[in-house]
């Protein structure tokens, strides 16, 4: 082989492999593909998980915990902090606030949502424990909190943020939206008459993406076939919430439709675009 090419080859092969590579690869492989999102957990499994979770926190003396239950006066539907976990170990840290709903008349709904939140926190704590177990010195930081994004007499939207940092970070936002009057958990599907909304909303988002990229060259969305996984359509149960002024907002996790530096991305869908597909004007107008 040519001497110069040989030299380049040797330099290429001599590139130092950073020790973080193993951790990053392992972590990336453990992550389940985002597409399979489970909406509801079977109640019994969720209860078992909740018990296990509480036990974990109680058994581990390192787990600094703050349990705060706010007494509920009258029928005020709101989110409160149920359990907060804070712990630091070696290079890793976890700070997770678990939200819980209170005040719904439909206790079954309230419980199933709260159990889902607990389960998520338990999963995060498990990841933290795995990362700090004896033979692994992980650099993992987990942060999770929540925020009430919309609170009107009719509607309540809550966002839960989950940020996992390990060399680079991965942020997810989960929303739930509840009809407070009727005690119903809204799904994206339930807002529309039929399946046409998927196509219409996706089309609108694509237009918004193109527009944004045209206006600001620093914004990138995966749209074209050149991209390994271009955005085609939203999921039937895509993450969404409803704003105080009754607009529908579609949300994507980091990496879902754009490179990591774009973070969690959101698109407000103009009501005019979907008005004739809506079941009614109660939520979106």
């Amino acid at each position: 082989m040519d001497k110069r090419l040989q030299q380049l080859r040797e330099e290429y092969k001599n590139v130092q492999i950073p020790k973080e590579l193993d951790i990053i690869v392992e972590k990336a492989l453990q992550q389940e593909p985002k597409k399979k999102r489970i909406v509801m957990w079977p109640t019994s499994a969720a209860i078992a998980a909740a018990i296990l979770f509480t036990a974990l926190v109680n058994i581990n003396p390192d787990a600094a915990q703050a349990m705060s239950k706010i007494p509920v006066i009258g029928k005020i539907v709101k989110a409160i902090t149920f359990i907060e976990i804070k712990e630091e170990k070696d290079q890793s840290s976890i700070d997770v606030k678990t939200p819980a709903l209170s005040g719904l008349s439909n206790k079954e709904l309230e419980n199933s949502i709260n159990e889902k939140y607990l389960k998520e926190s338990q999963q995060l704590y498990k990841e933290f424990i795995q990362s700090t177990s004896k033979n692994k010195k992980g650099h993992l930081s987990i942060y999770s909190d929540y925020e009430t994004v919309t609170d009107t007499p009719d509607l309540l939207s809550i966002r839960r943020n989950i940020e996992t940092t390990q060399a680079s970070s991965y942020t997810q936002s989960r929303y739930i939206t509840i009809d407070k009057k009727n005690d119903i958990l809204l799904t994206l599907k339930s807002l529309f008459k039929d399946e046409r909304y998927i196509k219409v909303i996706s089309q609108n988002i694509k237009e918004q993406m193109k527009q944004q990229m045209k206006e600001d060259p620093n914004k990138i969305y995966w749209l074209t076939d050149e991209d390994a996984e271009p955005f085609k359509t939203i999921l039937p149960d895509q993450t969404f919430y409803i704003t105080e002024d009754h607009k529908l907002v579609i949300s994507f996790d980091e990496y879902e439709v754009a490179p990591g530096y774009m973070g969690v991305t959101e698109f407000t869908i103009p009501t005019g675009v979907i008005s004739n597909l809506l079941v009614g004007e109660r939520y979106i107008r």
Partner: protein
């Protein structure tokens, strides 16, 4: 379902076995550790979420290379607008002509090649892949790959014997 599981298992094994190769390839594009790690991570993420589209499990390594190369090139394309000039370039521009370091020419010869040429050189001579595999990765046919390989070597002014190319 069963097929999907085995393909995924293959992918996991493949990534675990060759992660160092994949890292080196990513590094050869972005030239720094953090970005290279990011690219490996992002490629794995992309691969996991579309592993069910792999029809022939035997090509899984090429398939992953393909995702990795695209992710890296994508990253560079997006970064281009804000690229920080390296010391050598600044020095070169500010002082006019200077003595070259002995390897500069050689590195530039490779780094300044358009990506479609550079990719082929790296995959063929550094990763030791077959022309057919490279064709799979770049989505071209084998003849195009061969032509580009000749052209890339010519651009780099590298002479090779027949055996090197086959």
């Amino acid at each position: 379902m069963k097929k999907k599981q085995t393909t995924k298992a293959l992918l996991v094994t493949c990534i675990t076995d060759h992660k160092q190769d994949f890292y080196r390839l990513a590094f050869s594009y972005v030239k720094n550790q953090d970005d290279a790690l990011d690219i490996v991570q992002e490629s794995i993420k992309k691969a996991l979420s579309s592993v069910e589209t792999v029809r022939n499990p035997e090509t899984i390594k090429s398939w992953f290379y393909k995702i990795l190369v695209r992710t890296a090139i994508d990253f560079l394309r997006k970064q281009k607008k804000i690229r920080v000039m390296d010391d050598e370039t600044i020095e070169f521009l500010s002082k006019g002509k200077e003595d070259h370091y002995k390897d500069t020419d050689l590195h530039e010869a490779l780094d300044e090649l358009p990506y479609r040429y550079k990719t082929i050189i790296i995959l063929r001579f550094f990763e030791d892949l077959k022309l057919e595999e490279i064709a799979e990765i770049t989505g071209e046919n084998t003849n195009t790959v061969k032509t580009r390989l000749y052209r890339a070597l010519k651009l780099m002014r590298i002479q090779l014997t027949k055996e090197d190319l086959s």
